[in-house]
Symmetry: C2
Subunit: 400 residues, 2 copies
């Protein structure tokens, strides 16, 4: 009999408990032993839950119980999730988590501590919810040179953008609709400002490069500045606008990381990913490009990934090649050197725009002028906008 | 030092040799030992190849060499690939293959023989080329109930259909273009008649159900009957037409398998997969739907999958839960019971169509009448078409 503790009994925690219970026989057959949910840690009580008798409020009980083999950390937030996870690892307990904040900020320490104690620190569910993403990427990494990992990593913002595209609605109206449908929180900042996507791309970037970069250092933009007019121009030019996280392996060994909206060809792989769906695209040689697509959040999908990691713990242990991150902020590439084409909208004239930005492609001419620059670095773009003398009404980068 | 033999030095074999050579250091680090390509078996000589000195024409040399640890079977065709693979397994050698014909027809025997001798029979590359598909599905299967696996499994036909959609060309013109570009063979039958997709769905079906079904028993249609008019109607109704392989887990434990063109909503996940790209979509509870997308063929992608399997052989051996297929043709569901909506085109009248098919949705009325039936079984559809008294000009099933 193996004993586990679930930290956090919210949507994901309840999903995990339900899945372990409903799939009791399969899990037993797979792991070769019964799994018992010994404790559920939460500040709240759940008197109506079938698991009510296991709910406790003191992590110390779990920490001091040597019978607990694995801890499922699905609490959300950095603290005390970080402290609890550390204590669990130090106590020789496996830790499985969906907590992207902890993995993005403290993944390197967690992995090192797990290694020291010969236990697992698994976090498949922290990126892409139920989509198997981390394991396939680790597979690909074994003998492919990964050039870039990029993705639509946040369902809330992708739902909003899809609504703006399908119905021509404003950002505000689409956000309101998302909140009404339960796809966005009452305080949606972590999603709409790109913070959630930033944590996920930090994890993916660490995976492909070994370099764990603090999310605070990553250039992050959300979708709050995207206007219905921009969506209309994109549509007319067979483009979609997606909030992308990108981790690019640079020639010099550095890692270029960013979260920002991008214009993307509608028929590109990521261009067709809509609604609350997420997708992660891997560009590597020689496998070329591979994409993983699915529901990035939700009780069922996330619980599936967590239980998968839990089973792997017990069947493979630390046998499989561990993922190693190390804090290496010096490996973060300078964002000012990132180059791409830029979309801009202005009420100035074409000749004024050309004088500042050089040759441009006109996308739409009317009340506003919408244009696409040639490939320019961030630095050159900022200088050109300054030369223009008036802030652009809109600025969105273009995915090559 | 581990020794391997490559059987077949065509596009994939050469890709594998190149990848093992270019990634020598990474592979050595991963496997913990050097991998030496000791033999390359082919009927031809390759005097200009850097591997010319290893090319042999007699499989007996490989069979009798106890130093050969693993055989990479990338020959194509059922025989003698089947015999060589069997001999290798009997001799305690791992076998890694991309040969979908052998896996589809003989996978069950191979897996059993490999198990008997404590060696691996890996075939990730046989479905979806470089897209990690089999391993993630095995992961998902551990604790999800898989309802269906379906996919665009053949790049040639997907390229042709995409061309028909983008340019309104006929099937014949699009096939010719595919041949000129090297995306279709001079004899394209295996692709355009759905045979290649059939082998792949047989493998995927075996994976999700444990039941290996002979491809000859699977209802298989290709794309040769699709007309430019059908494409135009689909387009007008925001649908794409894709050649899908589908493996559906039925409530009664049976497996419903088929390959056929399907009308599919353009914004469904598979609807946006174009050109030579393949994609495999898994519908399971509770993970919902997950899709894997990428290049299903080509030297680089396929070699990547083969080398991945090879390394896994040496690092994990038969440690990871083996895939078990057994020949179980009795588990194949009766195709006549498969139900869906059907698209039809006719020059008869709407009232004649309704008299035969019941309520229908009119998609297009002009020289031809294009319509969509309600959900009907194959049997009921065949009876309705007989009642109509005249063969339909076109018939394509609709994906729900």
């Amino acid at each position: 009999m193996k004993h586990i503790a679930i930290l956090g009994f919210g949507v994901v925690g309840q999903g995990v408990a339900a899945l372990l219970t409903n799939n009791k026989e399969e899990v037993k057959r797979l792991v070769g032993d019964e799994l018992n949910i010994k404790y559920i840690l939460d500040l709240r009580d759940f008197p109506d839950s079938p698991f009510a008798d296991r709910v406790i409020h003191d992590f110390g009980i779990i920490k001091d119980d040597a019978d607990v083999d694995a801890v499922i950390e699905v609490m959300g937030g950095s603290h005390p999730a970080f402290e609890f996870s550390m204590d669990a690892l130090k106590g020789g307990k496996h830790v499985i988590t969906s907590n992207k904040q902890v993995v993005a900020e403290f993944g390197a320490e967690m992995i090192a501590e797990a290694k020291k104690h010969g236990v697992c620190y698994h976090f498949e569910a922290s990126v892409g919810g139920g989509i198997p993403v981390l394991m396939p990427i680790i597979e690909i990494l074994r003998h492919n040179k990964v050039r870039e990992v990029r993705g639509i990593l946040n369902g809330t913002t992708n739902y909003i953008l899809t609504k703006m595209f399908t119905f021509g609605d404003s950002f505000e109206a689409s956000l309101k609709d998302a909140q009404e449908k339960g796809y966005a929180e009452r305080n949606p900042d972590a999603d709409i400002l790109g913070i959630d996507a930033c944590r996920k791309i930090a994890i993916l970037g660490a995976l492909i490069s070994g370099a764990s970069i603090n999310p605070d250092l990553i250039h992050t933009e959300g979708i709050t500045e995207i206007r219905a007019q921009d969506v209309a121009v994109a549509n007319k030019n067979a483009c979609a606008i997606k909030l992308l996280g990108r981790a690019i392996a640079c020639e010099d060994g550095k890692l270029s990381l960013m979260v920002a909206p991008f214009l993307i060809d509608a028929d590109a792989p990521l261009g067709g990913v809509n609604g609350v769906y997420n997708a992660v695209e891997v560009l590597a040689d020689p496998v070329d490009n591979v994409m993983f697509y699915g529901r990035g959040a939700g009780a069922g999908p996330t619980a599936s990934a967590v239980v998968g990691d839990l089973c792997r713990c017990f069947t493979e242990g630390t046998h499989t090649a561990p993922v190693i991150f190390e804090k290496q902020s010096e490996r973060l590439a300078d964002f000012s050197a990132f180059a791409c084409r830029h979309y801009g909208a202005t009420d100035l004239s074409l000749s004024e725009v050309k004088a500042a930005f050089g040759e441009v492609t006109v996308l739409c001419e009317g009340k506003e002028l919408a244009f696409l620059t040639e490939v320019m670095t961030e630095k050159a773009f900022a200088e050109a906008e300054a030369k223009l003398g008036k802030k652009l009404l809109s600025h969105i980068r273009k995915l090559a």
